[in-house]
């Protein structure tokens, strides 16, 4: 294709580009959130939008999440297509009613005849010592509650395509982006997230996982930053002659159970890597998707590499001790193999 398609973008820029393209194409699309105007978003994902679209459509809000997320629901139901930002997913506590009782349920309450076309974008993840109220993922918390689609990209290509799909979707979509993938210099960033991203508009289908590495011996399922850990672990495993398949979920709701089942049917082994809390979360759901379908495909008990069920500590050593990493994935595989 064209030269422009060799261009690499960070997730932050891919998100902003998608929003800008949709705003150019559709006057109903607008953005609200804290520090998304002049600052361009704490995580850079609305940079340049205020300059192009002005403050009528790029609205810095007061620190009033209940009001502006609730307002997004109302505006979406009234024919607009808002994109709103909850700066850190950890702040969901002050505004969850607007999210799970309104945004997620109003279509149902209208018997399916209503559209709630809105995107709630929110940053996730830790690993940089930001403490227990600024480091969580909470994937499972959002995915657990019916009525909202949930996506969590691991790279810029998917981020742009998923954002475009989310804005065009007539149902609410929660777009969870991991801070350490954003490409913000001050946070350190995972190089693998900054990938070739076409300039023209395109969508990535919500609800489709991607097999990002093919293999026959073990399936490693993850999302967001965990995909990069999984790919690195797979690389090391390959040097020991083990052929790991890596699945990037990309969407949590709907969950692409088919792709997971197909892979595990081939490999017989399953490791789920999730930076969210261990219990009652994505990792359990992925495993259940396999075992309740056909337990006989498994050659070993599935394993999860997830965040222990404790609040996230500030201190680096304690936090790193808790976070998923390549070594923990390799150890999980070793245990599985020797079992």
């Amino acid at each position: 294709m064209t030269e422009s398609n060799d261009r690499k973008l960070t997730i932050a820029r891919a998100m902003a580009e998608s929003v800008a393209q949709e705003m150019r194409a559709d006057e109903r699309v607008f953005v609200m959130g804290e520090d998304i105007g002049a600052l361009g978003g704490v995580y850079g994902n609305t940079r340049g939008l205020l300059e192009e679209f002005g403050d009528e459509r790029i609205r810095d809000t007061p620190i009033s999440e209940t009001a502006f997320i609730g307002a997004a629901v109302g505006a979406a139901q009234d024919g607009m297509r808002p994109v709103v930002e909850l700066m850190f997913v950890d702040f969901f506590g002050v505004c969850f009613d607007a999210i799970y009782n309104l945004m997620a349920k109003n279509i149902y309450f209208y018997g399916g005849s209503l559209k709630v076309p809105m995107v709630l974008m929110t940053s996730t993840g830790g690993g940089y010592s930001d403490g227990g109220q600024h480091s969580q993922c909470l994937y499972g918390t959002f995915a657990h509650l019916p009525g909202m689609k949930v996506v969590a990209p691991s790279n810029a290509y998917d981020a742009k395509g998923l954002m475009t799909a989310a804005i065009r979707d007539d149902s609410p979509v929660v777009f969870m982006y991991h801070k350490r993938l954003q490409g913000m210099g001050w946070l350190g960033t995972e190089a693998g997230a900054t990938v070739k991203t076409p300039e023209e508009s395109y969508t990535v289908e919500i609800g489709k996982a991607a097999v990002v590495r093919e293999g026959a011996d073990v399936t490693i399922v993850s999302l967001g930053l965990g995909v990069h850990h999984a790919l690195k672990a797979a690389e090391q495993l390959s040097q020991e002659g083990t052929d790991a398949e890596v699945i990037d979920l990309r969407s949590l709701v709907p969950l692409d159970r088919e792709t997971i089942r197909k892979s595990v049917a081939k490999t017989g082994r399953l490791i789920v890597v999730d930076e969210d809390y261990h219990s009652y979360g994505v990792s359990g759901e992925v495993i259940a998707s396999v075992v309740e379908h056909d337990v006989s495909v498994l050659k070993a008990s599935p394993a999860r590499v997830a965040y222990p069920d404790v609040p996230i500590p500030f201190e680096r050593g304690m936090e790193q001790f808790c976070l998923p990493n390549v070594e923990k994935i390799l150890a999980a595989y070793q245990e599985m193999k020797s079992a």
């Binding site: 105007g37 002049a38 809000t61 007061p62 930001d130 050593g317 001790f321």
Partner: protein, 328 residues
Amino acid sequence: MQPSREQKLWMYEHMVLSRRCEEQIAKIYFEGKTPVFNMANGPIPGEMHLSDGQEPVAVGVCAHLDAEDIVTATHRPHHQAIAKGVDLNKMMAEIFGKSTGLSGGRGGHMHLFDPAVNFGCSGIVGQGLGPAVGAALSRKMQGKPGVAVAFIGEGASNQGAFHEAMNLAAVWKVPFICVIEDNAWGISVSKRASTSVPRNDVRGASYGIPGHYVEGNDPYRIYDVVGEAIARARAGEGPSLIEVETFRLAGHFMGDAEAYRPKGEKDALLERDPIPKMRSRLIEDGDASEDELNSIEKKAEERIAEAIKFARESADPRPEDALTAVFA
């Protein structure tokens, strides 16, 4: 209500302590973060919100408080913690994430908790209000003395929690004071762009309680207005709402490029730095000699150096300590 000479010197001392604390943290924060700034690196990783410029609020309020009184603070808590008498060594160790820190490194700088002086924080905007009202209620129910003060930023006055807590405190007439530090900015969003009234004191009327606005970032005026509100609360007459004009001389957090500030704002604010201002005033009013102030400043410097030494020399927590202290 005017502070005594002793109180003035106490206020000055704690303003200086707080400023020296922030200056040292600012310096140490960049260790390991140059030439490439990465928040995750260095002896003090993570976000860092400094309180430079806002010291008068902390001392003007805390000059009226004893250890038994309750303070809840925000993501920008150092000046308030120091004025409330939080153990400096343990506080510094917490900021460094050491085993000797207030919570053994679990909390970090946005989560300083010191039960010995009834001090707590929340990094979630507006969430110090409920716990302060609850502590005030608890004192009332137990017939125990003590008032509770929630410090918040002006941005937090637009949280639902603000309205709910103010109303609850007023309807139950608990000994509670909400002190709003109006530094004019919530990260990059100005008060003007986010708040429908220029001053939040008028909101007191909607809860049927007194509302005051204190201009000038002036510790004596703050002392005066807050003193009356606290006396009122101690006498069982219920809560007050006080907004104080102040300013932050630092960025929202360290690493903030502050491009949102109008040109010249920062320089104009530096001209109004409350610490040299108070210093000249103490001398002009005959409250202190040059020597006395030099000695206060020197001691403050030494005290902060000692806290930093304590923090640096303390052991890291064991990684697996992360799994402990989840339940009581």
